[in-house]
């Protein structure tokens, strides 16, 4: 395995150009990639470690959006005051993410590119309408995160491209994240979801819900959230519509039936509590 450590984007692009058709793997935090380097799986022909490329690690506050470098670690996001205050669902998704050791290495970009159906940061990125900035030999493009994730483990990343940063447009909505795992730490989600909302006159005037581990990709609960925002039906009746938006499977962590039931129950509970809290004010 050839190990490469480009020290700039130019050097990275030059390296990709030189490699021709050779197969390569990009290394960021490595927490998913390196499990298996003990002989379990064949190692890649070329490994490109992007951690020495400058300006890919850190959070920049712009007027219209916040830009998070793809190499920003989950622990850095969890501790960041600005993220906690303005994008709480993202900060909360980093709270029970893996373990301390995993959070010190795992990156936001890696969690996205790994494209797990249960990825903890994705529901939050979905409700914030995050955009991913991709850079490579063909230049730069910015795409919505929901279009970037194609299938489990598959993203719209062309040869030579890397995920460079994540842009979160500023929003006035309030938001939260909830995860159900078989235990609190070190557990892949049975279901997880993020909610973006605005409550006015004791009703949701805006509601966005994205859920994970209930479909091959993280999904918006579109029919459900439209019905609630339109106030066509009451919450406890609308919740049944969630079934139209998800396609869970049975696996080692839970059955499809359990996932459907528990997502609807948790979500109804969360939303009911938000309305009750609002009435108390």
């Amino acid at each position: 395995m050839k190990y490469h450590l480009p020290s700039s984007m130019d050097e990275y692009e030059e390296l990709i150009g030189r490699m021709g058709a050779a197969s390569y793997v990009i290394l960021a935090g490595g927490t998913d990639l390196i499990a298996g380097f003990d002989g379990g799986r064949p190692v890649p022909e070329h490994l490109i470690d992007i951690k020495a490329i400058p300006r890919m690690n850190g959070i920049l506050e712009h007027r219209e959006h916040v830009e998070i470098g793809a190499l920003t670690t989950i622990e850095a996001l969890r501790r960041d005051e600005h993220i906690r205050n303005h994008f709480p669902a993202l900060a909360q998704s980093c709270e029970d993410f893996g373990s301390v050791q995993i959070r010190h290495r795992a990156t936001l970009g890696g969690n996205i590119v790994n494209a797990s159906p249960a990825a903890d940061t994705l529901p939050a990125l979905f409700i914030y309408n995050a955009m991913v900035k991709l850079r490579g030999i063909q230049g730069e493009r910015v795409v919505p995160v929901q279009d970037f994730i194609l299938n489990p483990g598959e993203v719209d990343l062309q040869r030579g491209e890397i995920l460079y940063s994540i842009q979160l447009p500023r929003s006035e909505c309030r938001s939260l994240f909830h995860k159900l795992g078989l235990r609190q730490a070190m557990a892949v989600a049975v279901v997880n979801y993020a909610i973006g909302y605005t409550i006015r006159d004791h009703h949701f005037t805006h509601l966005t819900v994205a859920a994970g581990a209930v479909a091959p990709r993280v999904v918006y609960l579109k029919t459900f959230m439209d019905a609630v925002a339109d106030e066509r039906i009451a919450l406890d009746r609308a919740i049944a519509l969630v079934d139209n938006d998800i396609a869970p499977i049975d696996d080692i962590r839970a059955t499809a039936r359990y996932r459907r039931t528990v997502l609807k129950n948790l979500l109804l509970n969360t939303l009911t509590e938000l309305l009750a809290d609002d009435r108390k004010r």
């Binding site: 050839k2 490595g30 390196i34 301390v100 995993i102 010190h104 290495r105």
Partner: protein
């Protein structure tokens, strides 16, 4: 270390427990294997090999990491502290002693990882309460004693 011809190698410079090393290593060698098999620092243990259990925890530039999920090449020009390194430091040797005093060890295989996580936690949060101690140790598994004695040992050390 003998490196087969079809493997690629890397000349690694790294400081481990305050000592500088320069070693030619295979590029795909994990930091865990470098510590155990090249430097013979066998205090760092391997259990699951996939980042679940924390037995292989070391400090990389001051931060706890699973050394089974880090390549040795990624530690180039960095500083690593293993259990052998903390044992030389008076304070943290005292931390090891409280584990013993509280019988917070049974088979002992998870202990080096636990001590490193606890040392990093107490460095960052000297006032950590039992709840914070539990949160700070979520990445370390013990399958013998349970966690009560470990949390008690660390709480006691804090006093």
């Amino acid at each position: 270390m003998i490196i087969p011809e079809n493997w690629d190698y890397f000349d690694l410079t790294v400081r481990v427990n305050g000592q500088d090393y320069r070693e030619r290593i295979p590029t795909h060698l994990r930091l865990l294997d470098f510590l155990r098999d090249v430097l013979h620092l066998t205090g760092t243990k391997e259990v699951c090999g996939e980042g679940e259990c924390g037995a292989c925890t070391v400090l990389l530039d001051g931060m706890t990491v699973n050394s089974c999920l880090v390549l040795a090449v990624e530690a180039h020009d960095s500083e690593v502290v293993t259990i052998e390194g903390v044992a030389e430091d008076e304070d943290i040797a005292a931390l090891q002693q409280v584990y013993i005093d509280h019988h917070a060890i049974q088979c002992g295989y998870c202990t080096p990882g636990f001590v490193l996580s606890a040392a990093a936690l107490l460095r960052d949060e000297p006032e950590a309460d039992p709840e914070s101690i539990r949160k700070g140790l979520v990445g370390n598994f013990c399958r013998c004693t349970g966690y009560q004695k470990i949390v008690q040992a660390i709480s006691d050390f804090r006093k």
